[in-house]
Subunit: 453 residues, 2 copies
């Protein structure tokens, strides 16, 4: 078990789209696009990640088919297995790697999610994590009886309540509440079972949960919001935070910002780990790097690239000339998708004066970093040692190939430098990360009570 204060490089293997990070990853020459609903495809990927000693397999999720545009159905891939069903099956064929399920707090009920995460934690013997997201689009709302996506601020308020309810449900049963006494017929010690009786703005949940406390106490909480509201939720509750990447200085600023917010929630710095996004395109030589980056950058057809930009901006850009900058600055006010993303694109428009062609290419290929294994290891080392990152959430331009390259080429280099573990440490995911098992709120309240007496 790593001690709280000794920093250890953490690596997550991220799957946004099943064929890779990129919206057009399925089209990469070596992608295995036709296998996206074949369990062995995922099994191979997660086994490879485990061979590379990745700490976590992170599985993204969205609740819709992106059918806003002609191109987005015809050229992009919105098909994916459902997270719990997939990760639970993967837990059977792995041993050490943690499995992070993305779950939206906007379109779910905490009782269901608390149960599923607890069950995944049991089945995987303490390897469950929850990527807490608030969802992003009106398309998602329309699959759940709403016309519009919940407004940005309300989504985060709902998220806070959702997490609180879920954690409360996980505490329903104190440790050793189950007696299994066949002789007396006592199955459980009733005094160690607690109803939550939660009444909030969004949720009204009685409890108790019909499964005992997960092996980790609570599965590890992961969060990816980067807006002001997102950062507060992260500081209050998250244990791993996915950061958007950007420049070293930006990343250091966000790192300090996030760690600086912990104090007011009574948390210390090592209790929240910051993992920026990284999409390495790995080549053995500079030429191979250039060649491979070019392949990735050319994957997205122009129609899809423009529509993706229109999506990000909430405004149709398809009529504008490609060789000139956009003649408007997109509005933040009233915009209900990711603010973080919109702000970044605004910066490119305002500060770099990119043409529309350059702009959509940039937007479609954010965070791609081409390099040799040494260069990628340098990048990781610098960010880690200069406190821009506690590790990385590594995404792959195509799967399974780019993950395979990372495991064969970059991981050994990181290990040679003494930056990355060569064996998993024993224990559950919390143990491996040096995170304490959360106290049970009901047991803690009672202990406090009895001290007072």
């Amino acid at each position: 078990m790593s001690k709280g204060n000794a920093r250890q490089l953490i690596l997550g293997a991220m799957m946004f789209f099943p064929a890779g990070e990129h919206i057009s990853s399925w089209r990469h020459p070596v992608s295995e696009a036709e296998r996206l609903l074949d369990f062995d495809y995922y099994r191979n990927i997660v086994e490879t990640a485990e061979r590379g000693k990745f700490d976590m397999f992170f599985y993204a999720d969205e609740l819709y088919v992106w059918d806003r545009f002609e191109s987005s159905v015809a050229q992009a891939n919105s098909i994916r297995p459902e997270p719990f069903t997939l990760l639970s099956a993967l837990s059977v064929v792995t041993k050490d790697i943690a499995l992070a399920a993305t779950v939206s707090t906007t379109y779910n009920e905490p009782y269901h999610i608390a149960r599923k995460l607890a069950t995944l934690d049991y089945i995987s013997k303490g390897r469950a994590a929850w990527n807490i997201v608030t969802s992003q689009t009106d398309e998602e709302a329309r699959n759940f009886g709403k016309d519009r996506h919940l407004q940005h601020e309300l989504r985060y308020e709902r998220a806070k309540e959702f997490v609180d309810v879920t954690r409360g449900l996980w505490d329903s049963w104190e440790e050793n509440a189950l007696l299994f006494n066949k002789q007396t017929g006592q199955f459980a010690d009733r005094s160690k079972l607690h109803s939550l009786d939660y009444k909030g703005q969004f949720f009204n949940v009685h409890g108790p949960l019909n499964i005992t406390r997960p092996p980790q106490g609570h599965p590890v909480l992961v969060q990816a919001g980067a807006s002001e509201a997102g950062k507060e939720v992260a500081a209050a509750t998250a244990e791993l935070v996915f950061a958007p990447g950007g420049s070293l200085e930006e990343a250091q600023r966000l790192y300090r910002d996030l760690k600086g917010r912990l104090g007011k929630y009574g948390r210390s710095e090592h209790e929240l780990k910051v993992l920026p996004y990284l999409i390495p395109v790995i080549g053995r030589t500079a030429d191979e790097v250039a060649e491979r980056v070019a392949i990735v950058e050319d994957l997205t057809p122009e129609s899809l690239g423009l529509d993706l930009l229109s999506h990000y901006l909430g405004r149709d850009v398809s009529g504008y000339p490609l060789d000139q900058p956009l003649p408007f600055i997109p509005e933040i006010d009233g915009f209900n998708q990711s603010h973080t993303n919109l702000l970044k694109i605004r910066e490119w428009i305002q500060e770099e004066n990119l043409t529309l062609h350059q702009l959509y290419k940039r937007a479609a290929n954010q965070r791609v970093f081409g390099g040799t294994p040494e260069q990628i290891a340098d990048y990781i080392e610098e960010w880690f040692t200069k406190k821009a990152a506690d590790g990385f959430n590594v995404a792959f331009p195509h799967l399974p190939g780019a993950l395979h390259d990372f495991v064969e080429l970059v991981v050994p280099e990181l290990q040679r430098r003494g930056l990355f573990k060569t064996e998993y440490t024993p224990g559950n995911f919390r143990d491996k990360l040096g995170l304490a098992k959360p106290a049970n709120r009901f047991a803690a309240a009672r202990d406090k009570e009895s001290i007072r007496i």
Copy 2:
């Protein structure tokens, strides 16, 4: 593949409580009560069922801890893994047996459930089934922001809509909608993708589903309601129906009743299979049978037995003398739990004049059938040949032991008599049952359209 009209005995292995069918199964001397959250416990059970050539592993579910009574927390077991998370993991370690997940239509959203069942169907290669239930208690309502359980009639209306939406979502993508054309950049044929645009009394769902059509077209639909409303839902949509058991004549009546309702939905008799409930207590000799039945009948402590009866009746019976009949007839009007169950208990009260002691014992031990392997095979054979059943949903007084006995002792006897298969037939669950793959509603509509032209 069995042909539609050749009747084949179907056997489901049912897990209501993880330790067995009985509310006190955990207390059976050979139960493995402490392993109820250990994946290998379930793995062993489902592997044993597969060894016995069971057609299906059926996993029940409830969305609450039964904490209505002192005894119900302290003496009963409300702890269970969540179905999707459990069954998906089990699909990795099995090959032929179908996996039926119980999902409530009252406290879920069709988009989530359609995705999860489709994913389970992919991961298991066509072995997913859905036990459609409407949930039963106010305790469940209170975990989902409601005070009371949805009223009986409304629950079935909601169930009908829920199933319709789910089936519509499964049809979102026609076969061969995905092109995977890396050269042209065409991922999908847009004309083969359909939005459901459903607007009903309970649901408003746009679609499309973000996973393609499941291998079976639609996972097999299972249903267990026995009230008038329940039977109509079954006749309209279910492919397997769990029947409550009872006498041979009652079962034959229900069998004919259900099959007789199919015509008006354009369905034929072999498209719906009736599987009564059976809880065999197996002994090698008459003495062993008697001894084993006595153990099962004594599992439930008196306090729990009385509270269970109070629960079934919706009225507290704990104050009445044990050696006399109850001095009242429980009311059906306004009762919002299972009507079928209440009617049966009323019958025992009115027609048999049981004492309270006899009554709670009967209620706690419904459907237990003690016998030697030959007697149990006789029972199954008679019900099957006399058209009271197309097979059985076999529940076990304790797990894994009683399942093990059934596989070792009863299955070979059924096979010797030529009643039960000795090998699985190839194909997915529908193929094995001789059920056709459902037509895609959108493709069917288009085909009709083009014929008209």
